[in-house]
Symmetry: C2
Subunit: 321 residues, 2 copies
């Protein structure tokens, strides 16, 4: 597995000042990535056809600064490595890495990747923030998709550690390894997914628990804010420290996971039989929105977000101890 | 709603030294509750027919001490308020509160509650750690079950804040309110569940996400330790700070939850269609245990637990900031 094309690896996990990243798409995700790359000292070119590209990117970066600072980054000269380029071919000149954040549209993405390939220097690594369309599909029209794969962040990318690395059928082992090294050097937690299933892993798990959340609230088993309190004072706390399997392995005592399965497996299977299957029909949506308004509607969005982000940063700092 | 029978309320959330709790059942859960009650200065009588009652309880309490200390409790004279009584009627003498941790067996529990009623002073509050049998069922043979309800902890009770308060059909409003005050005065986070559904709320949510965890690992979409890393670096972190509804409300931006549902509801419903329905058949269990052995089998149970508990305590301290 060669990593010579990856400047991050050559410096043993340190991020070199001379690496260049092209960020395609200056929406919320793209700007968050750009902020993280800049904070790590990379040269960043942001590419988007939007007319207010500079203005909106600079505004977005300013909003990230408190979080980046809380994460330990210097933010005084954050924009010094930043440039803008509306022309894709020019934006890609000299890029070592591409982080693509285009719309989730197969046709659009397939054309985009043909154009990316045309402008790319040999050996560059192309990563997509795609949360739905897999690399095997969006890279289908490329001549050589071996260095193209999904690097799917958990929103917002500059804050939450997880990046799901989802290779396509044509992605090389070296590219997978380079993607892991790249994100790890930026302080992220890259995790490789072996199959291109819909929703990858984090969003599937989120969907699975949220289905039951919607069911329990719409059936009036529990109020919305009570359900949120339940999660953040039990399973959320637990899983911030150790994932579900590690938790249940410990739940089995010294006998471990097989002991856990023996004793609690039948009870879990019984619960699986009675979990709900709700739909977002009008009655359900109305009930949820009514409860949400009562639970969180009195607090300004900005205040609710700031409170959550501060707690998030404190929890992340505690985890690193 | 009168709370005069509740000595904790009379001191506005402070725990009075003279309140007495009878802990029925000296298994892991009962001992953990006893430790928390003692640390809060309550008088605790532990009741169980096991021949090694004193020895095993004292051993268990010793094991809790580092966590109790980390939570900020004085542990030097933890056992000074502790007594043992194998006879139920004697154990209940003078009790203001009962926390029952008997086996999950309907017949056994129904008989137990008849005996509890016979020995109980008027106005005492009876709380059950039951995770499965609801109060309406286990209190069915009592003459007056109005002050009986479920206070279901998330294991271990002395450490994890959540207590699910699940009233039975006959439970009075005053008893619900007293139960909330009691647990809140002990530093717990009591949350009321409105309906006695199987698994209450936390265990249902845990079952819902774990079903998909089992599916994804058994289908080899992702390795077990990778899945654990995904959860503890994304949704676990998030939900420790804010529950699923609050998270998705913020995910909707200034437009809030209805904006979120409009944009992401259809995608969630699509994912619901493709989530897995695994069973703990031999093939699945063998695969899970094989992966668990590879992921966590090399580390001593005690070390894995200590690492997790330390991180847990650090995260909880961060949340309180």
């Amino acid at each position: 597995m060669t990593t010579t094309t990856n400047p991050l690896n050559e410096k043993s996990g340190m991020v070199p000042k001379d690496a260049k990243v092209t960020v395609i798409g200056a929406g919320v995700i793209g700007i968050s990535w750009a902020g993280l790359f800049l904070a790590n000292g990379l040269k960043v070119t942001v590419n988007d056809v939007r007319p207010d590209l500079e203005e909106s990117t600079l505004k977005g970066l300013n909003e990230l600064k408190p979080s980046l600072q809380a994460l330990g980054y210097q933010i005084d000269h954050l924009e010094s490595g930043l440039s803008f380029e509306k022309d894709l071919a020019k934006a890609l000149e000299g890029a070592d890495y591409v982080q693509e954040n285009g719309p989730e549209n197969i046709q659009f993405k397939q054309n985009l990747y043909v154009n990316i390939e045309a402008g790319l220097k040999s050996g560059a690594l192309v990563l997509s923030s795609s949360s739905g369309i897999p690399a095997t599909v969006f890279a289908e029209k490329m001549k050589d998709p071996s260095r193209v794969l999904v690097g799917h962040p958990f929103n917002p990318p500059h804050l939450i550690p997880l990046v799901e690395i989802v290779p396509g059928k044509q992605t090389s082992e070296a590219a997978i390894s380079d993607a892991k090294s790249f994100y790890a050097a930026l302080g992220k937690k890259p995790v490789v997914i072996n199959k291109e299933v819909p929703g990858f892993v984090a969003n599937r798990l989120q969907a699975a628990i949220f289905r039951e959340c919607v069911y329990l609230v719409s059936e009036e088993v529990v109020r919305m804010e009570s359900l949120d309190d339940i999660v953040s004072n039990s399973i959320g706390l637990r899983w911030a420290a150790a994932g579900p399997f590690k938790t249940f392995t410990l739940g089995g005592g010294p006998g471990g996971f097989s002991h856990f399965l023996e004793h609690f497996g039948p009870g879990l299977e019984q619960l699986w039989q009675v979990l709900g299957s709700p739909h977002f029909d009008k009655t359900t949506v109305d009930k949820l929105v009514e409860q949400e308004t009562r639970a969180y509607g009195q607090v300004l969005y900005e205040d609710l977000q700031k409170e959550r982000d501060n707690q998030q940063l404190a929890i992340m700092a505690a985890k690193k101890q």
